[in-house]
């Protein structure tokens, strides 16, 4: 390559390069989207979604189809922890695209499809070969294939650009994606791949499930794990190649990973995961196509990805089971419950010292017992009220536990003392080591475990410190005397 003289300003323009790269094919193609004469969003939306515009129709349909196939296949990628394989393979297609281009010397979608798929499969084979045949870890193998194949592709591309017939815009489109350029031929390929994905996932559901969950056991059962993996890679390669045109090299892997990761955080069943993943994929695809349709010269891929990213963020925060807020809420609730139970325990101890005679416990008494201020104690008792465990008589400053509260108090104290006894006897802990452990465990022992402990300890009456182990039901009737 003969070096060309350049102005200094160019050396800092890496930044602009991306912009131009994303934009130039769009500029060339803007006319296909139709003349955008109005900036009114609702009018645009109406045009888009009522398919008034043929190229918009194709773009939307194409986006839905690619969302479907990427979502379905991505579901298996995420659970098999192959998320970054999509990224590696999508970069590895470049030499195939160039070779396909060279074959016909024009933009012939089938030639390019075949070339690109062959390159992706070769890439998948190379990853397998490197992982098995050397001690290099899988992520290194992926990185090598990604950049190595891409480099070969760049060499070919730069050689093609020298040719008089080498039309740059053909290659660029595949590198950086543009949904507006989807035509009926491309739709055929997209539909075929989407149909193949749906078929494969339905027919081979159990094989895919078993080999994803426990490949060792699946092989041992006689399932063809290696072939299932290869089949998945073939489908993945095809899906990547047909989606490249709309989304671009870097961002295809996003359409594989993000919808599937969203589904992973929302459900615990595989078939629901696949359905959600496909749904999110289609939604992101449609929104991406729509958003880029809104403005002039906007690339499609990034909008699809950002939509998917937005949905993922919502699931990550608000997911009912695995979302971060849900976990915080659970944690908070647990802390609250533990605090309430500790209050109950203290009240019980106070009552016990008096052998359940002499009326209710007062605030000052409890405060002294717990070594805290009266106000803190009042607050603690106030927390019992919403849970129906106890209440404060404001006139006399006396704490009244409800029957449920007394029962629970007895259970907590019983759990604590049982556990101490168990640790001291069965696990041979020194008696002065058992208290903290029991302080934590007392809140989480379930009834079944308690029964087993009682059996194990021969229904002992006293704990290591000589205090009686309560039998809650008996006590609650005693206290109400």
């Amino acid at each position: 390559m003969k070096p060309r003289p350049t102005s200094p300003a160019r050396s800092g323009f890496a930044l602009w390069a991306w912009g131009g790269v994303a934009l130039s094919p769009c500029v060339a193609r803007a006319s296909r989207i139709g003349e955008l004469t109005t900036n009114d969003v609702t009018a645009q939306a109406a045009r888009f979604f009522t398919f008034a515009d043929p190229s918009a129709r194709w773009a939307l349909l194409g986006a839905l189809l690619l969302g479907l196939s990427c979502g379905l296949l991505g579901g298996f990628l995420v659970v098999r922890k192959l998320s970054l394989v999509g990224d590696a393979l999508s970069h590895a297609v470049l030499p195939g695209v160039a070779a396909g281009f060279l074959w016909s010397l024009t933009k012939n979608p089938f030639a390019i499809f075949v070339g690109a798929t062959a390159a992706a499969l070769l890439g998948a084979l190379a990853v397998e070969a490197i992982t098995r045949g050397s001690r290099l870890p899988q992520d290194t193998a992926l990185g090598l294939v990604l950049s190595g194949f891409f480099a070969v592709g760049i060499c070919l591309v730069s050689m093609i650009q020298r040719l008089p017939t080498g039309s740059k815009s053909g290659i660029d489109k595949f590198l950086f994606g543009q949904a507006a350029a989807i035509g009926p031929d491309d739709l055929v390929l997209l539909a075929a791949v989407a149909a193949a994905s749906v078929l494969a996932v339905t027919l081979f559901h159990k094989e895919l499930l078993a080999t994803s969950f426990d490949p060792g056991f699946a092989t041992a059962s006689g399932l063809p794990a290696v072939w299932i993996h290869r089949g998945l890679m073939v489908l993945l390669a095809c899906s990547i190649v047909v989606s490249l045109q709309a989304v671009g090299v870097v961002l295809v892997s996003a359409m594989l990973i993000i919808p599937a990761a969203t589904a992973y955080l929302l459900t615990d069943r595989m078939n629901r995961l696949l359905a959600i993943s496909a749904g999110v994929g289609m939604f992101a695809g449609a929104m991406g196509a729509f958003l880029s349709f809104l403005g002039t010269n906007l690339p499609t891929g990034p909008f699809m990805v950002l939509t998917a990213g937005g949905v993922f963020a919502l699931a990550w925060l608000f997911g009912p089971r695995h979302g971060v807020l849900a976990r915080q809420l659970l944690h908070h609730r647990n802390t609250l419950r533990t605090a309430r139970e500790n209050t109950l325990k203290a009240v019980y101890h106070a009552l016990e010292t008096r052998e359940f005679e002499g009326g209710d416990v007062t605030i000052p008494e409890l405060a002294a017992l717990r070594g805290e201020s009266a106000m803190d104690t009042r607050r603690a008792i106030a927390m019992l009220r919403p849970a129906g465990l106890g209440d404060l008589d404001p006139a006399s400053d006396r704490i009244r536990l409800t029957p449920a509260g007394l029962q629970r108090a007895g259970e907590i104290v019983r759990n604590h003392r049982l556990w101490e006894l168990y640790l001291a006897n069965a696990a041979h802990f020194a008696t002065d080591h058992v208290h903290e452990d029991a302080d934590e465990i007392e809140h989480v022992l379930g009834e079944e475990t308690v029964r087993r402990l009682e059996e194990r300890l021969d229904h002992a009456e006293r704990d290591p410190h000589g205090r009686p182990i309560p039998r809650p039901t008996a006590n609650s009737t005693r206290a109400q005397r």
Partner: protein
């Protein structure tokens, strides 16, 4: 096909670069060597820590960092770009941790989500705010390595030093090497066994973030010369090749440097022959060297098996009892 591959002129390909073309091609090879060698040295740690794809992630997510820096500072100088890149690296690693730590999401999925979203954000930023451009997309795909000799040379105290890219790369490289040497044992222990490192008192979190910052600095400097995606090859190829040639880290570092030198030179010749992008040709040459090293090590292993097989019956009792 004939038009595609130019006629092979041995003189132009092999002789010119080292004689009449030296003032130009010398700098090109030197820059290529510096980028590959420095990235390769740091990349050894990425391979050991199984974070090869963090290099991928950082090189992609540098884009929005650069975009923001440009929008914020309005200039394309090296200072703002570095700031933007470091900011991007910090945000990337932070977000990846944030995503997978508190949930059951796995790190590989988190990595993929973060860098693609950041990259998409970068492209959107650029499309929305910077749409009056005419430029050379080659720069991003595979850098402008060939442009390096034509930058106005830096002058210092009356001495002409060389192209600014090369000087900057060399300076950054020197800093990186010093840091690697200073923190050699911390890097080694935390790469090998993070739990042990924490027991010994090494702040593994700090080491991790410092390594990521170092990678992103190198990526920014290399970005302009070799493009975003080829830089990943520069990070991983030398280390992966050297893994076949040496079992110890110092040995691998040495082999990485040699691999960098060989691939730079061979890449130049390949590019001169095929008239293609120099950086891409250097990576292709590096891949060829990788395959050769792999072949050598496979042959060695096969030979060893054959000779080992001959004394199968003579395994000593002591060896067996010691256990595997």
């Amino acid at each position: 096909m004939n038009a595609l591959i130019p006629p092979f002129d041995p003189h132009a390909v092999f002789v010119v670069p080292w004689t009449s073309g030296l003032p130009v091609f010398g700098w090109v090879v030197l820059m290529g060597f510096l980028v590959t060698a420095l990235c390769g040295i740091v990349g050894n740690y990425l391979i050991l820590r199984r974070m090869a794809l963090m290099g991928d992630a950082i090189s992609h997510s540098v884009l929005p960092g650069l975009a923001l820096a440009f929008l914020a500072f309005g200039s394309r100088g090296i200072g703002p770009m570095l700031a933007g890149a470091l900011f991007a690296a910090v945000v990337t690693t932070g977000l990846i941790e944030l995503l997978h730590r508190p949930t059951r999401l796995k790190p590989d999925a988190a990595t993929g989500i973060v860098f693609t979203c950041l990259f998409a954000a970068g492209v959107v930023l650029i499309s929305l705010f910077a749409d009056r451009v005419d430029l050379d997309q080659d720069c991003v795909l595979h850098g402008e390595l060939a442009q390096v000799p034509f930058e106005p040379f830096l002058r210092m105290g009356g001495m002409v030093l060389g192209p600014p890219s090369v000087i900057r790369m060399a300076a950054a490289g020197a800093v990186v090497l010093v840091l690697v040497a200073l923190f050699y044992k911390e890097l080694l222990v935390s790469s090998f066994d993070a739990a042990l490192a924490r027991c010994v008192g090494i702040r593994t979190g700090l080491v991790h973030h410092a390594l990521m910052a170092g990678v992103s600095v190198l990526v920014v400097f290399a970005f302009q010369s070799v493009g975003a995606i080829l830089v990943i090859a520069m990070l991983i190829l030398p280390g992966a090749t050297s893994s076949f040639l040496s079992e110890r880290l110092p040995g691998r570092m040495a082999w990485s440097v040699m691999h960098a030198a060989a691939s730079s030179v061979l890449g130049l010749h390949l590019a001169l022959w095929l008239d293609c992008s120099i950086a891409a040709a250097m990576v292709v040459a590096g891949c060829v060297l990788f395959v050769c090293a792999w072949g050598v090590s496979a042959v060695r292993a096969a030979l060893r098996q054959r000779f080992a097989g001959a004394d199968n019956g003579e395994i000593s009792g002591a060896g067996v009892i010691q256990g595997g």
